[in-house]
Symmetry: C2
Subunit: 496 residues, 2 copies
């Protein structure tokens, strides 16, 4: 508002959080809060899916459509919120410190993002009416304008910027470039909003383009490089702070976002329990002669399913936690795979609902247990894939101890392979032992936590056994600790 460098303003108006703790810490808390909000928004849309009441006798087409629509809303929300979250990470890699105005602008941005799920609900419920897509575009334009205001404000007061940009000679070019990136999506959405009045299928197409914009632009840039030759260096250097695909994401924020998703999924379950599984006093009097224990006995499977689901979510978090302990930087591919894993983790309450609600019908029970196994398998296999992606660029992405041949590598492998293997085994055995499918599923849920506790022991046993086998086969005269390490080094590259 005042001059460019603002030397006239008194000190107590400028740079307030520079003094009270350093500004960096302040930005840190705002980012944690944003991560928490975004992760909850991404996940909470599974609730309408699980709240869809399904009675087998009336499982007709309209219910099926409703369920499919709600699953679609959940997936769209999850996908788009993670895209917005990635953009948010990039933006606050440019803006290093915040002040009150930036915090308020960020809140406005968050408020608009939380409104996106509603526009999806409208789109899915009324696919033929352009209002949903119009509102969606209005939201994206609002978000873009708020972000542009953040960028403009931060460049106006350069002490808020990342020091590397603040001291750069190309600051104006940086600003131009970042504003372009921030406003690219909203510009497309403006076109989509106009289209929505005339020919709205085109608007849907534009919307999909907006969601995949970073990927599309990366692919376009790659093609351009191939055809026209590589670009000039200054723009290459600019890319470092942008929405570029191959830049590592902030590891801390990936962890915070994942924690939020796991925490909310673990907690949604008890909400259902508390709302649905407290018996009605009158029913207890009438049906169970006042015996509360007998009444609760009928909910027994629900409690079992709750503990099983909580244990699954908790242990998936545990595996994720162990993995990211060894991660140095999260590459974009790891971020994408992690997001997919989280999307399936968000589906776990659905698995709980399925395994607990449809117990009365033997056929549906089998189906629901298979669905549960499939969801657990997908969630855990994408976690495993995240690790594989990290191993592919292990020098950049992993600490030495978890790389090929590192001393934590085998343990990490075992931890991440446990759930995919267990769910696959459970799924397979439901095909052969249909009658015992519930028992098998619950056995799996109980056995896996103990397997995690004893994993280190089991791994040592397995490695010792392998070492002993090796010693038996070629008669080498010098067995010792060196030998065991060799055995492990040989074991590592093998797939499960």
């Amino acid at each position: 508002m005042a001059g460019h460098q603002a030397p006239e303003q008194p000190l107590d108006v400028q740079g307030d959080d520079e003094d009270a703790g350093d500004g960096l810490q302040s930005s840190h808390r705002m980012l944690s809060f944003s991560d928490a909000l975004l992760s909850i928004i991404a996940t909470v849309m599974i609730l309408p899916v699980t709240h869809t009441k399904i009675y087998p006798e009336e499982f007709d087409k309209s219910i099926q459509q409703l369920l499919a629509a709600r699953v679609a809303v959940y997936l769209m929300t999850f996908l788009l919120v993670t895209v917005a979250w990635t953009a948010h990470i990039r933006l606050f890699q440019v803006v290093g410190k915040i002040d009150d105005t930036l915090a308020l602008l960020n809140l406005a941005c968050m408020m608009t993002i939380t409104f996106l799920p509603y526009t999806f609900s409208l789109m899915v419920t009324f696919p033929d009416v352009p209002l949903g897509i119009f509102l969606f575009c209005v939201c994206v334009i609002t978000i873009g304008l708020a972000q542009a205001a953040i960028v403009g404000y931060a460049f106006h007061y350069p002490h808020l910027l990342n020091p590397q940009i603040a001291h750069s000679a190309h600051k104006a070019a940086f600003r131009q470039h970042i504003l372009g990136l921030v406003l690219r999506g909203p510009a497309l959405c403006f076109a989509a909003a106009l289209c929505s009045f005339f020919f709205f299928p085109l608007a849907y197409l534009l919307m999909v383009t907006v969601i995949f914009l970073p990927y599309v632009s990366k692919a376009a840039g790659w093609c351009k490089d191939r055809i026209m030759g590589p670009r000039d260096p200054p723009i290459q250097r600019l890319e470092f702070f942008t929405f570029d695909l191959h830049e590592p994401l902030s590891k801390e924020r990936v962890e915070a976002f994942s924690d939020g998703v796991y925490a909310i999924v673990a907690t949604l379950l008890i909400l259902d329990i508390c709302e649905d599984n407290v018996p009605d006093p009158k029913a207890v009097e009438a049906q169970f002669h006042g015996s509360l224990v007998a009444a609760l006995g009928t909910f027994g499977p629900h409690f079992l399913a709750y503990f099983g689901s909580f244990a699954t979510v908790g242990l998936l978090w545990f595996a994720h936690h162990s993995l990211f302990l060894h991660v140095r930087r999260a590459t974009r591919a790891m971020g994408l795979l992690n997001t997919l894993a989280l999307a399936f983790v968000g589906g776990l309450p659905l698995a709980y609902q399925q395994t607990s609600a449809l117990r009365q019908q033997p056929h549906e029970e089998l189906e629901s247990i298979r669905v549960s196994c499939a969801i657990i398998f997908c969630a855990s296999i994408f976690q495993f894939a995240t690790w594989t992606a990290a191993l592919l660029r292990e020098r950049e992405a992993l600490h030495p101890s978890a790389r090929f041949g590192g001393r934590e590598h085998a343990l990490m492998f075992a931890k991440l392979a446990l759930y995919p293997c267990a769910s696959l085994v459970a799924f397979a055995s439901t095909c052969f032992l249909r009658r015992f499918s519930t028992a098998i599923f619950h056995l799996m849920q109980v056995a896996v936590p103990f397997a995690f506790l004893l994993l280190r022991l089991l791994l040592r046993l397995a490695l010792a056994l392998l070492g002993a086998l090796r010693r038996l086969a070629p008669p080498t005269p010098a067995p010792g600790p060196q030998d065991a390490r060799d055995a492990r080094a040989q074991l590592l590259p093998e797939p499960c």
Copy 2:
């Protein structure tokens, strides 16, 4: 499991997270996850309250009882979860680093805590049946045993302990003392569980004792000191790492817990919007001749209420964020006041529900707007009280710039006083201008964000005005920046 100092074990089994990043970071993420879980669990029990369908024509005694019961469950859960959270902070001030076993034990502990709300639901729905209190006691005993296992494990492998304790000469005494503190509550609960079979009102009494145990024991210790003289120094020193009342809490964890509560409250609102306010296609066809815009028009007040509530939650978070920027350490009194503020923030979705759902009836509308104002007032006044508590021990609790006479003091005061004043004014004006109460409430919700944006400017104007007035009254010949600072220094101790 092996020897005490475990020198025989190979290096790759011991001390895994010492290598992969430092163990402290690992503990940090587990604590963030626990904070997220606990804050969500504490807050999410407001959902059954807001989901209670109230139709004015059938607002009879049974609905009133149901509503009261659910509010009671919410408050009990919030209170007890914050007690458990405080104990968790204390515990992990003793245990500085974690390994896999501790992480799994902590997960087990969290799982049991998430089950507590269900036992409250049972207690409230069946107050005459001892099963609820029995289950509650079983949960508390399980939590206590898990915590005792954590303490035992950490003392068995001392590299996991806080270095100050690990290198202390009184380690055995420390362990005894901490185990005693951890198992005190469960022991009482064991007695309560036994009582629940014979005379369960006594069990309820014991339960209340368990909840207020830290306060009770502090008060007892204080009385003992008064009567018997001060205790011997070694035990005094032990207290530092315990559940002592006046010890500062970890500022970081208070922030993380608060962030979780604010984030979940902001997000619960959109869930209600998405579930309830998407019109049914058939109804749109029948009632609005296929016009979706007209159908959505009927939900207009809901959207307004949503944006108003989100803005309120967001700005309360903003005030909290500004406050804790200036906080150095959170004393126990601040923690308690902050918890009360959060409990009312958790009630905000209820305020939203009230202001949006009961619009058709003019009388209920007035009531609901008053309830909303009261909830906002309580939430913000407890925030203000947190600041007052910090000011009372400002040397320990605040950074210099926010203390009396500091240059951020007046701004901080204005930020925290804004919502109490605004909600009080709105409440008062509903008494005089009954017909315009809705308009007043919405005006307040729209005006306050702008007031926050312009706060710095308004404050400078007010201070300049005061300075000018001072200059007019006694004719001093040297006006200047020193004068303005004087004026501010005089302004500071005045209440709003």
